[in-house]
């Protein structure tokens, strides 16, 4: 009897420990307290950018001048699972990367209202003041997470678009004579033609269209029809602009239209047959090889693959975002006005011994001097200043930015990603980052890109997208908190499960049985408690309309 218990328990423990092996980071060397407060922080990082190496020069400068050191733990795999394991064990590092309200709901974070005040942290306070109410946790009105991106000083001048689009290789457009692409049909026509002409790229077979549907990234597969239909980034729902009713579109006619198109393209051999069984690393490595002609995705997901293409000098294999729709009568709404993400950024965990010290660290790092170091680098080493005080980089300084190894030694992008930061312009008028400095952006383009943009008569990659209209007050709906364990949450999870099960079938099935599979898919969706999900979304959208005006 005992033996059995032991085996059963050992087996379940083994299963849990197998997935949480890396969860036990954060040995707390509550370092020297001489400078007042904690100096060594353990950090959980979810960013996909390159990890800083041990001999990183910015980390060294921070340690030398401020005394701060970091013990970073990077996310591998699914964020929700990792967060769940951390919550189950109550085992949090000092600083936690949040992507949603999960940690807040679990009571894992310290409310920051008492720490961020005009007296104690003037810079940080000024940074979040305007959005304080919006960022506070709805249930108790406290602020838990310091927002990471989307708070702009001055105007948005970045040259690189990070959002959703149908991406296409520059070579495909160049080969077709730099056409304007407006519709889904035109998009696939270009890809088909190019693939027919170039069955292999760099010795490996060409993949026409790639799809990511791996765990945690199912939305890459499911949200595309929404954009093609001219809706903004509202996640799984379409929001009626007049009544603010939210409605799922998974079983809509336009979703069907999109998957029908993919089904046809699959039959033509345009879509990667392994698309649905690959994980995200395999997806990234396929894109990095330059053999993928196009995909629908948000740029930040595959950005590392693009950096890799640049470091291989495969400029023509980089991608251009296209705001395509089903037909030309539909106005695209891909690019939006910058919005600050709710619940995304660093939070301070209840295990942190000295939250005050962490907030002070953020306060120091958001000062303009440190922001310049974090975003531009060291003056004279990573960038230059001309007589008018404008920042610029020499060609060598630009080129080293393409080297991922150099970046891991000289930038701290992974850590920086969730830090509160200045975007737009500094008080001296310089762009917050090299990408936001228009003349630097232009100068940093390689010859291929310069020529490419000239052919299209555009200044930067943003210009390929639609002009962003004013965002609706509630926008975006995708970050609405569904409350863990609620009916809405279950309905949403089941909807995702159905999508990952049926959509691949729909796409890969022969044309004759498409309608049957679609019927099954819709039938299964009807059995879910979609009403609960839609109600939660609608209620929250209305709540936002009332409280965010």
């Amino acid at each position: 009897m005992k033996k059995v218990w032991k085996q059963v328990i050992a087996a379940s423990l083994a299963a849990v420990s197998a997935i949480s092996l890396t969860a036990c980071g954060g040995s707390k060397n509550t370092a020297d307290k001489e400078g007042g407060g904690q100096k060594h922080f353990s950090v959980f990082i979810t960013a996909t950018s390159e990890e800083p190496s041990d001999n990183n020069k910015i980390l060294k400068k921070i340690e030398d001048e401020l005394g701060y050191t970091f013990d970073c733990e990077y996310l591998v795999g699914n964020y929700d699972e990792k967060a769940g394991v951390m919550i189950a064990g109550g085992d949090y590092p000092d600083i936690v990367s949040c992507s949603d309200n999960k940690f807040v709901q679990a009571g894992a974070l310290v409310p920051l209202d008492d720490y961020i005040t005009p007296e104690k942290t003037p810079n940080l306070y000024k940074h979040v003041e305007k959005y304080w109410k919006k960022f506070s946790y709805q249930e108790d009105g406290h602020l838990y997470v310091i927002p990471n991106w989307g708070i702009y000083d001055g105007e948005q001048t970045d040259g690189v678009y990070q959002g959703a689009a149908f991406w296409i290789q520059k070579a495909v457009l160049a080969d077709a004579g730099y056409p304007e692409v407006k519709t889904l049909d035109q998009y696939f026509k270009l890809i088909e033609d190019y693939k027919a002409k170039n069955p292999t790229i760099n010795g490996v077979s060409t993949i026409g269209f790639e799809i990511l549907a791996a765990s945690g990234f199912e939305w890459v597969l499911t949200t595309a029809p929404n954009y093609l239909h001219g809706n903004p980034n509202n996640g799984d729902v379409e929001v009626n602009p007049d009544t603010y009713e939210a409605k799922i579109y998974a079983n809509s006619d336009y979703a069907k239209q999109y998957f029908k198109k993919l089904n046809e393209e699959y039959a033509k051999g345009i879509i990667d047959s392994e698309a649905f069984t690959q994980n995200k690393d395999q997806y990234i490595s396929k894109i990095s090889s330059g053999r993928v002609l196009g995909m629908f995705d948000q740029h930040w997901v595959f950005q590392t693959a693009e950096s890799s293409l640049v470091s291989q000098k495969l400029y023509e294999r980089e991608y251009v975002p296209l705001p395509i729709t089903f037909d030309e009568s539909i106005a695209p709404y891909y690019r939006d006005q910058p919005v600050a993400n709710i619940g995304q950024g660093y939070g301070i965990s209840v295990n942190c011994e000295d939250p005050e010290a962490v907030v002070q660290m953020f306060e120091t790092l958001i000062s303009e001097d440190w922001q310049k170091i974090l975003q531009w680098g060291f003056e004279g080493e990573d960038y230059m200043v001309n007589e008018e005080g404008r920042f610029y980089r020499t060609p060598e300084q630009r080129e080293q930015q393409d080297d991922t190894i150099w970046k891991s030694e000289n930038k701290i992008n992974a850590l920086f990603d969730n830090l509160p930061k200045i975007q737009g312009q500094y008080s001296d008028g310089n762009g917050a980052s090299p990408g936001a400095q228009q003349e630097e952006f232009e100068a940093s383009l390689c010859d291929y890109d310069k020529e490419f943009l000239a052919k299209y008569n555009k200044k930067n990659w943003f210009d390929f997208l639609n002009d962003p209209p004013e965002n609706p007050v509630y926008y975006p709906a995708w970050d609405i908190d569904l409350i863990d364990g609620s009916d809405a949450h279950y309905a949403n999870q089941k909807l995702t499960d159905l999508a990952t099960r049926y959509l691949p079938q729909l796409i890969m099935t022969d044309a004759g049985s498409f309608d049957t599979v679609w019927g099954q898919y819709c039938g299964e969706i009807d059995q879910l408690d979609i009403a609960a999900y839609e109600k939660r979304m609608t209620d929250q959208i209305k709540w936002r309309m009332e409280n965010w005006q």
Binding site: M1, K2, K3, V4, W5, K6, Q7, V8, I9, A11, S12, A15, A18, I19, N78, D80, E81, G84, V85, I87, A88, G90, K102, Q105, A106, G107, A108, S205, A213, A214, E218, S273, E274, F276, T277, Q278, Q282, D484, G485, H489, Y490, Q493, K494, D497, A499, T500, R501, L503, P504, Q505, M508
Partner: protein, 317 residues
């Protein structure tokens, strides 16, 4: 009357001897106390956590400040199609693994046992048990490469021999999934599993083989009539032990190899626990599924044990 006293005396004598025996063995008993305590601490105390299954557990609060919901979580579990599928998948893959694991290991062990060239035998043995030391993540990587539609060796061979016209997407087709998991398991574990059978074969009295040879038994007859019966006890014991694990169809291989299109056949109970317990923060539901699994495992072990006793074989407990 006389008889009664006699009986009483016997009882008291027995009782006395029990306590006496305890006294005699008090050192041994003392020595075992720490181990028993350890067992209680690590095997029984955590069972308090099972109460989570009857609550609507929310992390930030203590275990006993929770809202009690009775059997709600179990009701949800058994009304959920996904969970029922997961039970089916777990059982199916487990039985496949069990049968394949046993048959292949026994066959390989018998074949190895017949080898006379020691160098060759040792090499085969080493090569065949090496994969056991690879972690699943590596094995899954190899499986994915081998079965890839894009220059995977299996598709490549099938195409060259003209058996298929276009590459088969093995990992995206639900019908192949169980087979792939079974084959991967065999590849990884077959060599390792033979060790215990080989050990048991080495203890067979050579005179049995000689006697069989005198009776005119050939090689195959010897395998069937001497080797197999001699290791029958080992086989049965291993079978009973493995039946306790029948709901542990594995977690890593299905988790790593599974994907959207095959989720209907790839998800096991362990993955369900991970998905609902961890990913969706419904720790109560995860615990309920875990309890179900443990209870079934215990029932299975006892039935196997009882059956084995009935069949006149050795019993584990």
């Amino acid at each position: 009357m006389q008889l009664k006293t006699k009986k009483k005396a016997a009882v008291s004598l027995n009782k006395k001897t029990f306590w006496q025996r305890c006294c005699e063995q008090k050192v041994l008993i003392l020595m075992s106390v720490p181990l028993v305590l350890l067992k209680i601490l690590f095997a029984y105390v955590p069972l308090v956590g099972w109460s989570m299954a009857f609550q609507n557990y929310k992390p930030a609060k203590g275990l006993f400040d929770q809202q009690w919901v009775g059997l709600d979580k179990f009701k949800f579990l058994f009304s959920d199609n996904v969970f029922l599928h997961d039970i089916r998948n777990t059982l199916a893959m487990s039985v496949i693994n069990l049968v394949l694991g046993f048959v292949t290991a026994i066959i390989l062990a018998i074949l190895l046992n017949e080898l006379k060239n020691m160098f060759f035998k040792r090499s085969i043995q080493t090569i065949s048990y090496m994969p056991h030391f690879l972690s699943w993540i590596i094995v899954v990587g190899i499986v994915q490469n081998v079965l890839s539609t894009d220059s995977g060796i299996v598709n490549d061979l099938l195409l060259r021999f003209g058996i298929i016209n276009s590459p088969v997407n093995f990992l995206g087709e639900p019908k192949y999934f169980w087979g792939i998991v079974g084959a991967a398991n065999v590849w990884k574990e077959v060599g390792w599993n033979t060790i215990i059978y080989l050990a048991s074969m080495s203890s067979i009295d050579p005179s049995l083989y000689e006697a069989a040879a005198v009776d005119g038994a050939g090689r195959f007859s010897k395998m069937i009539h001497v080797t197999l019966p001699a290791i029958k006890g080992t086989i049965v014991i291993l079978l009973i032990m493995n039946i306790g694990h029948i709901l542990d169809a594995g977690f890593e291989v299905q988790y790593l190899l599974g994907s959207g299109p095959v989720q209907d056949v790839s998800e096991t109970i362990d993955i369900f626990v991970l998905k609902y317990g961890m990913q969706m923060n419904d720790y109560s539901l995860g615990t309920a599924a875990g309890i179900f699994k443990s209870v079934i495992s215990i029932i299975l072990v006892f039935s196997a044990n009882w059956l084995s006793g009935k069949l006149g074989e050795e019993r584990l407990i």
